[in-house]
């Protein structure tokens, strides 16, 4: 069996399941937001604030944010192991791959922390 230290769960099956589950959460969230925007064509700051003051919307938003981070990591990890390989970049490939993975791991972590802070910071 092949192992990989930087894949999300080290198991192909688990990564595959997580990617599908997070895709469902993200789809549901975007449908929810689109329906909300469609039903509020003249959206005001107060309505938008009221929406995100709701605890359930906060939970749903944080769930979508976590889903986005996990989903993106699996996708970006796959891209990095497809295109930054010794066949294309020779012995430099491992450094390019690690830099790519490191950059996006950090970026996604910032997204997550920043996102949670913003969403949880909305006063009820």
């Amino acid at each position: 069996m092949l192992n990989n230290a930087t894949s999300l769960s080290r198991s192909g099956l688990r990564d595959w399941l997580i990617q599908r589950a997070t895709a469902i959460i993200l789809s549901a969230y975007f449908i929810f937001i689109l329906v909300y925007l469609f039903r509020h064509p003249h959206l005001t700051y107060y309505e938008w604030h009221a929406l995100f003051s709701n605890t359930w919307v906060k939970i749903f938003s944080v769930m979508a944010l976590i889903a986005m981070v996990l989903h993106s990591w699996i996708g970006l990890w796959t891209i990095s192991t497809d295109y930054f390989i010794a066949r294309f970049q020779g012995s430099k490939a491992v450094y390019i791959r690690l830099a790519f993975q490191g950059f996006f791991a950090l970026l996604l972590l910032i997204y997550l922390l920043f996102g949670v802070q913003i969403l949880w910071g909305v006063s009820s």
């Binding site: 192909g12 099956l13 595959w16 390989i85």
Partner: protein, 237 residues
């Protein structure tokens, strides 16, 4: 009818780079023939240095898989009338494989992946006096799987196999893998599945479906990969 045939030529001992060589062939308008016959015609009448593999010339041995006008297929069962466009035909070796010479590729990695899936029946029961029997229903489960001739048309049309031929088993190997997973006489299902659950062997398949489009035997490796995923889910959840 005049046909322009462009063939990928490369002899690593002689050429620095591969190139496309033009051949011009005249036919009576109503003539049709297989791409392999055309290659023989060129070899016999114009250029005896042209190299390609062939054996049975009837789509059974899988030796003459090549890229015909951009699509992988077997030269011996591909009629010119189906592939020639605007009186032009371009023949290249199977994509992504190291070229030994002209249309002949090195299949070592392809066979290495095939070897990994243990393409033989494993059974820990005592050997019966006669053969191991199957019900007709169990035998039916192998239809659409055992017919694979390992021509490599599918695996070499798969981008995931182009990028990771050392790690991803590829559609041909996975079709064969499912052929043994689905066999009622095989007792190594758990061991076979545990060898496939890493992020590369099966899960590098991104559902591009080039394999299904090009298989000259009309098989469906993507469906077999779906069945393997389902078995892995059953086993691990």
């Amino acid at each position: 009818m005049n046909l322009l045939v462009q063939i990928y030529r490369y002899n690593p001992c002689v050429h620095d780079h591969p190139y496309l060589q033009d051949y011009s062939i005249d036919f009576p308008a109503e003539t049709d023939m297989m791409v392999l016959d055309l290659l023989h015609l060129i070899q016999e009448t114009q250029d005896e240095t042209l190299s390609f593999r062939r054996s049975c010339r009837e789509g059974v041995c899988g030796s003459d898989g090549m890229n015909i006008n951009g699509v992988n297929g077997l030269a011996c069962i591909m009629p010119l009338s189906q592939v020639v466009k605007k009186n032009k035909l371009v023949l290249r070796p199977l994509p992504g494989m190291p070229v030994v010479r002209d249309l002949v590729v090195d299949m070592a990695l392809f066979y290495k992946q095939y070897e990994k899936i243990q393409p033989y029946l494993i059974n820990d029961q005592p050997i019966p006096v006669q053969e191991r029997l199957q019900t007709p229903e169990d035998r039916e489960k192998l239809d659409g799987l055992y017919e694979c001739i390992l021509c490599a048309c599918c695996s070499t049309a798969c981008p995931s196999f182009w990028w990771n031929p050392e790690k991803y088993i590829g559609p041909a190997g996975l079709l064969q893998s499912y052929r043994f997973l689905a066999d009622s006489r095989d007792t190594a299902k758990k061991e076979r599945l545990s060898n496939l659950s890493d992020p590369f062997s099966v899960f590098r398949c991104r559902g591009i479906l080039n394999c299904v489009n090009v298989c000259p035997k009309g098989l469906n490796p993507a469906k077999a990969i779906g069945h393997i995923r389902h078995l892995l889910l059953e086993e691990s959840t």
